[in-house]
């Protein structure tokens, strides 16, 4: 069986000689991202604690870094990079669309319930 692997990540910025090498490269990258997350999580720099689009700036950084990690796990460990476009889109877009929809609906509703609590119709400070 011939297994073709695309041996570059970051749009060709980082090229590898063999698949094994690429795996270690991706591991290095994922470890690096996790380390950044942990350091930011421990020190919580004051600059990043401001409110950006309804959430702390730091939280947005965490979420974006998570999606970056998810991308490289799916694309390189699960070999999505080497699958056909059809399979890739069937899997990724289905998930992305449904998850975004669900998250939007539930968070919107949660925020609304919170505003009802906050604006004093329901007392819970006892």
């Amino acid at each position: 069986m011939a297994h073709e692997h695309k041996l570059e990540i970051f749009r060709g910025l980082w090229k590898f000689k063999s698949n094994t090498q690429k795996i270690w490269g991706v591991l290095a990258f994922l470890t690096f991202v996790t380390a950044i997350e942990v350091v930011l999580g421990i020190y919580k720099p004051e600059v990043l604690m401001g409110n950006v689009l309804g959430m702390k700036g730091l939280n947005w950084i965490f979420i974006i870094l998570t999606i970056v990690k998810a991308y490289y796990i799916t694309w390189d460990f699960m070999h999505m990079r080497d699958e056909t476009k059809g399979l890739r889109r069937a899997v990724v877009w289905t998930g992305v669309f449904l998850i975004c929809y669900l998250v939007f609906i539930l968070l919107q509703e949660g925020g609304y319930v919170e505003s009802v609590y906050r604006n004093g119709f329901i007392k819970r400070d006892f």
């Binding site: 069986m1 297994h3 698949n19 094994t20 795996i23 270690w24 591991l27 994922l30 470890t31 996790t34 380390a35 997350e37 942990v38 999580g41 421990i42 604690m49 939280n59 965490f62 979420i63 870094l65 998570t66 990690k69 998810a70 796990i73 799916t74 390189d76 460990f77 699960m78 070999h79 699958e83 056909t84 059809g86 399979l87 069937a90 899997v91 289905t94 998930g95 449904l98 998850i99 669900l102 998250v103 539930l106 968070l107 509703e109 949660g110 925020g111 319930v113 919170e114 609590y117 906050r118 819970r124 400070d125 006892f126």
Partner: protein, 332 residues
């Protein structure tokens, strides 16, 4: 008699049948479909967690104050252990993908070795999670739950490196134990169909008496102030709150009470990390089955190691889910 249409005019076209337009085997594609549906299940749980958190956004527990332990060491080390767990799982993902790669080269020895390492990684992860649960259930300082279900925690201001810092104090360190008039109700001493769990170590009155005689101890409630810390009450306010609203001394967390804050936090923690842990556990079991198949040479005879690849997909998915659980439970 031949009524079947033999030619459809689509021969040679990608979607005309008889070819593999997605260039993936049946098994692999079904694994992908399973992964999509499982991803939706997990995102349903995580979105529900987000819902509850947004609902109590001004009083949700701060994860850094909850998960601060590492095995064999005392002290306050937020995040370190869970970062280690994340690294272990990513590492075992790497050995898995190396096993898949070795499978492509039909290298039985290497596949065996890498599968073995993957299984070890999975076992370490599940063990770590069990330890984490255990620490969380046991709790650390203890707290008092109020009539409204809120949590009051105790602590005092200490000067650390010239800065005033609020440090938690365990209930056991200041509460005044008195001879209680209340004994645990058991079946044998009353109605046979009524019993109750173990009584808390201290009653609210004992905690109150302890608070009265320790003048430096203050109460902290769950409301998050503008600096992102929990609000610390004044001395008078502390005494008043505990007297007026204190109802139950809680230590640790379970599905009903949680000394760290909202019980929902504990519920979701147990449910989501439990469901993920169950995935890891079943992944380990499946990996072991495949491992023995590799050892006895099943795939060598089959002349392909696609089974390893399919299990690999599942294993990476478990890792993928953990990346999200890690973010939403421990970081955000």
């Amino acid at each position: 008699m031949n009524t079947t249409v033999a030619t459809t005019g689509t021969e040679g076209k990608t979607w005309g049948g008889g070819s593999n337009p997605l260039k993936a085997s049946y098994g692999k594609m079904m694994m992908w479909f399973f992964i999509v549906s499982d991803a939706l299940t997990f995102s349903g749980f995580l979105a529900a967690y987000g819902f509850s958190r947004f609902k109590f956004i001004d009083s949700w527990p701060i994860a850094d104050e909850v998960f601060t332990h590492i095995p064999f060491f005392h002290g306050n080390y937020p995040m370190i252990y869970v970062a280690f767990m994340t690294f272990i799982l990513i590492m075992s993902s790497v050995t898995m993908v190396l096993a898949v790669d070795a499978g492509h080269h039909m290298n039985q020895k290497k596949v065996t070795w890498y599968m073995f390492l993957t299984i070890i990684g999975g076992i370490i992860f599940v063990g770590s999670q069990a330890w984490e649960w255990n620490t969380f259930i046991k709790g650390e300082f203890g707290a008092v739950q109020t009539k409204g279900g809120n949590i009051l925690q105790f602590g005092e201001y200490k000067t650390v490196e010239g800065e005033q810092k609020f440090e938690r104090v365990a209930i056991a360190d200041f509460a005044k134990a008195t001879h209680g008039e209340r004994t645990q109700h058991e079946r044998k001493s009353g109605l046979w169909f009524v019993d109750e769990g173990a009584l808390p170590e201290y009653t609210v009155d004992e905690v109150y008496n302890g608070l009265v005689s320790n003048e430096n101890i203050l109460i902290r409630n769950q409301i998050i102030n503008e600096e992102g810390h929990k609000t610390v009450l004044s001395r008078e306010e502390s005494l008043k709150q505990l007297k007026a609203n204190g109802k139950l001394v809680v230590h640790g967390a379970n599905l009903k009470v949680n000394e760290y804050g909202s019980p929902l936090f504990a519920d979701f923690f147990f449910f989501i990390t439990g469901f993920h842990g169950f995935h890891v556990l079943s992944g380990v079991v499946i990996n072991i089955i495949i491992f023995f198949n590799v050892v006895i040479g099943t795939y060598e005879r089959r002349k392909n190691y696609e089974m390893v690849e399919k299990v690999g997909l599942y294993w990476h998915f478990v890792d993928l889910v953990w990346v999200f659980v890690f973010t939403f439970f421990y970081l955000v």
